[in-house]
């Protein structure tokens, strides 16, 4: 039930090609991630909307296969 970093990055990049993604393996188990995602797509969106966009890009894996992803988001100007 783990999801490797490359897969998380690939899914986010596929939706937000300009995204800068920093991933941290919080527990060293390839399963508890902290992600910081910066993309111009987030401009003008609320935090909730920004996170919903990322969860949507992850295609329903969040809360399932990907059970622990600490997420922060920003647009490049922030």
């Amino acid at each position: 039930m783990a999801m490797p970093a490359a897969e998380i990055e690939r899914l986010i990049k596929a939706r937000f090609p300009d995204a800068k993604i920093e991933l941290k393996d919080l527990a060293g188990d390839n399963d508890h991630w902290a992600a910081h995602v910066v993309s111009s797509a987030f401009k003008g969106k609320s935090r909730v909307q920004q996170h919903q966009m990322v969860y949507d890009a992850l295609g329903g894996r969040m809360g399932g296969v990907l059970h622990a992803l600490q997420l922060t988001t920003a647009s490049p100007a922030d």
Partner: protein
């Protein structure tokens, strides 16, 4: 949506309580680290809130995810508005924004950060 009794129950809970945290476990006994953090943040602010233990009701547990289009628990609602999950609460609390928000919404609280 209106005909779904679970969605109606969720809407009613959120309408009847100014601050609601849907969480795993209770505020006294959280059963997940993320829910514990969320409850602790509200306690730090000195906000009285209603906790809904989703582990006691599978229908609510799934229903709340549909209600907000949000895949995870905990979920915080203030005056009917979905504010976010644990990460957003943490970020807002650290930036002082959560305190500003409860002030704006007129939510009584005992600690000022």
């Amino acid at each position: 949506m209106a005909s779904d009794p679970i969605q109606e129950e969720i809407a009613r809970t959120i309408a009847e309580n100014d601050v609601v945290l849907f969480m795993k476990g209770t505020k006294q006994f959280p059963q997940c680290g993320f829910s514990a953090t969320a409850a602790k943040i509200l306690e730090h602010l000195g906000v009285t809130f209603k906790d809904v233990n989703v582990l006691e009701d599978q229908a609510i547990r799934e229903g709340i995810k549909a209600y907000s289009n949000w895949p995870t628990i905990p979920q915080l609602y203030i005056k009917g508005e979905f504010i976010g999950g644990c990460d957003i609460m943490r970020e807002m609390y650290a930036a002082g924004e959560l305190h500003d928000l409860i002030c704006e919404k007129g939510i009584p609280h005992s600690h000022h950060v």
